[in-house]
Symmetry: C2
Subunit: 466 residues, 2 copies
């Protein structure tokens, strides 16, 4: 397909939606923004120019057509999640530059490197252990695990441009999807889960306890965590599957590296400092992005990174523009009534079905509506109360409906590369192209939906949720 | 001076101001932000790390100390002036990449290149002609003239890292300071001049006409425009002073370049399109930043720049962070009462002087208080009404006070590299280091103050302003 043809398709989508009759309840700007959002997403798939360029043009169109003010159009660039993502790239850069990433990678390889699958499970296990104490999944998976995994890929000689299939695309995808599942499993493993508990209390009167949450999640969660990496393994077929000599090789490499150098130590201390401040955030309430940026500031002051390294971190600027632009548009869709119009229609539609079918349909719609969101928190804020309300008035068991929606609020992040903070980080590593990301995301989403409905519902009966 | 020593000085300044007793009228956050701002400025001068790094740390400290919320701390990155500056860098990149910049440069050289001084005056003259129709001085000088001048420097073989003294530092400084003077000369050559007219009407009842404004500005303005480039020429001593063969060389180079290539034509059309939309902004009201970003979007779609060019434009990301950070802090100083506390104290101080001396003192204080601002508009909004009010109650002639303040509102932008939108653009070209920028800025400021008070006041008597 040549560029002109691709642009024509994008333009056609844009014009078609732009000139739709405006339904009552949506402001005209809402429909116009929806037109720009859809055209941008189509643009991401068709790629007439690079992804960043597509979103850049989308942002400009929001301002040029007067759909948003220039202030609103640019608002994504000061979004705190965007700057947390930037920080993750810079922490990763510090990891690679000082060599500490390589060292940590070889330690992981020595311990768990006998098989690629085992390595991945051990990384996932590590994130699982940290999760209850780190509610920001962007900080946890993007700030802590991404730097390690990125270094691991390089240690295995798997680079995004030359040899992504060696091991990189598998490790990246497995960790990302595991992060999404882990986020669903604890009341405290994703920031907005606490918001869900709050909404549920207000709407149903039930207080979801930490223990209730994990009780409901543990069985389907463990199943998903075991199965999903395996499926990704089968699909991506990493060239490096096992290496009997991994321990020897790692030992040799570590020996070659010798003692830790000064910059390596500095970076490691900063990394552990960031980690410990994140884990203790309950006690001091310093914003997760502030901590990350402070870590980067320390890296600058202590000379681990110089300013030129930062300006040269293209992945960071790229993510800032495309993710910042998408998060801005998605926010606007809520603001101009598109989302509430959507939930109203869903409610009208579901009223025709018996309660059990209505609940399942609702969960599936809720799940896949995440194609329109660039943040779990935004999705939860915009749709969770409305959907739980619909379930209640349809007569669904309150705790069942609340928890199922709660889990799905996290699991839905598998589907896109902009679904939640860690997505742009893992995606922008460059190991997996967009089409593959979306395809595998969809496959994983189906697996998760089947597990969490098919096994979840009977299991929750057993738990006494309904 | 080693890094530790520099950091200690910065820390000392920070702590000293941080723990000052909070004067009534300022919120504690105001004093804290002032401490961070001053420490950042000292940091810019001492440079323990690169400028961007200094401001980055400053931004982090605003959030880490709880002086600002993380949202406020990051707000500079979605500032529309910041994105206009980014666009200017990208337009300039398109100019250089396609070769159209080189072509325009050689045409300028052929016409005016016999002497370096003549070349500079011709560029200044061109900006003067455009000025009445382009109220955004950032768009005008940064978006239109910076790309041309940057290409001119390269055409002369003057590059920022190797040979800035050849001609680059002179052309850059001369045009920047001319832009500042030109901004002062027309009611419509700087966006906030219209705001000044509005304030003046509300406070004094006088309506400043377009003709009144230029009448008062034409004599001191022309003097400044003639003298200032000459002084900069003497200070910077460009190695290339005259070239008798400039016409021949330019002809040859243009011949070598041959006919315009497709990308060159595309870039030129986009450039002229941006220019014409900017000039006609009275009729359509599209925001100046939107126009610039749309120009960049066209460059992306039409293949003049690819996404990788944009991500690699380090100057742009650098300016975004350091200028975005400074503009955010300066905005905060107004918000938390530091600026109004300052203007109150000035008013109390001036009350002790006879009216003529009070007026002159006030003008000088108003001028140099611009060290604390990162935008003319912000300075005008925060201080113009208060200072004009003080002048009125001291018994100064209203039109004189209003116009003198009006001109000084623009001229004060000579002093720093963050004073107004074009400053970070010209400064980030890399031809002039910070100390030199500030030094020459101060010299130019003294010249302008002397001309506009020493010759301005008698001339304005003649004009009937007092």
């Amino acid at each position: 397909m040549n560029v002109i043809f691709k642009l024509s398709i994008i333009l056609a989508v844009f014009l078609l939606i732009w000139f739709l009759p405006v339904p009552s309840g949506i402001e005209p700007n809402g429909i116009h923004l929806f037109a720009i959002f859809c055209a941008t997403i189509i643009g991401l798939i068709l790629k007439p120019v690079d992804m960043g360029g597509v979103v850049f043009v989308g942002i400009v169109i929001t301002a040029l057509t007067g759909t948003l003010t220039i202030k609103e159009s640019l608002s994504g660039f000061s979004n705190d999640t965007v700057w947390l993502i930037l920080s993750a790239f810079l922490i990763s850069r510090g990891f690679m530059k000082t060599g500490v990433g390589k060292r940590v990678a070889y330690i992981f390889i020595r311990l768990f490197g006998r098989t690629t699958l085992g390595l991945s499970y051990s990384l996932i296990m590590s994130e699982f252990i940290l999760a209850p104490a780190m509610p920001s999944n962007t900080a946890r998976s993007g700030g802590i695990f991404y730097p390690i995994i990125r270094s691991l890929c390089s240690a295995y000689g798997s680079e995004p441009d030359k040899s992504p299939g060696k091991i990189g695309s598998f490790l990246i995808l497995a960790q990302y999807h595991a992060d999404v599942i882990i986020s669903a499993m604890f009341l405290t493993s994703m920031a907005a889960n606490l918001l869900i508990a709050e909404f549920t209390k207000n709407i149903t009167g039930y207080e979801i306890q930490w223990t209730t949450w994990i009780l409901g999640a543990i069985v389907p969660g463990i199943l998903s965590l075991l199965l999903v990496p395996l499926v990704i393994y089968k699909i991506t077929q990493p060239e490096i599957k096992k290496s009997a000599k991994s321990k020897t090789i790692a030992d040799e490499e570590l020996k070659k590296m010798g003692k830790m150098k000064k910059n390596e130590k500095t970076m490691l201390v900063i990394f552990l400092f960031i980690l410990s401040v994140w884990i203790t955030s309950n006690f001091h309430n310093v914003h997760v992005t502030t901590v990350a940026l402070f870590g980067v500031a320390l890296m600058i002051i202590l000379g681990v990174l110089n300013w030129s390294d930062i300006l040269g971190e293209r992945n960071a600027w790229d993510a800032m523009i495309w993710f910042g632009g998408l998060i801005m548009m998605a926010d606007g869709l809520s603001k101009y009534g598109v989302i509430s119009w959507f939930s109203g229609n869903v409610s009208n539609f579901l009223i025709n079905f018996p309660v059990s079918l209505a609940l399942i349909l609702m969960l599936v719609i809720y799940f896949y509506s995440h194609y329109g969101f660039a943040s779990m928190t935004a999705h939860i804020t915009a749709l969770f109360p409305a959907f739980l309300g619909v379930a209640m008035s349809a007569g669904a068991p309150p705790l069942l409906a609340a928890l199922a929606l709660a889990y799905f609020s996290n699991l839905n992040a598998s589907i896109t590369h902009y679904a939640t903070g860690p997505a742009p980080i893992y995606f922008n590593s460059g190991y997996v192209d967009l089409i593959k990301w979306w395809k595998i995301g969809f496959i994983v989403s189906v697996i998760n939906v089947i597990i969490w409905i098919g096994i979840g519902f009977p299991y929750w009966k057993f738990c006494g949720f309904w």
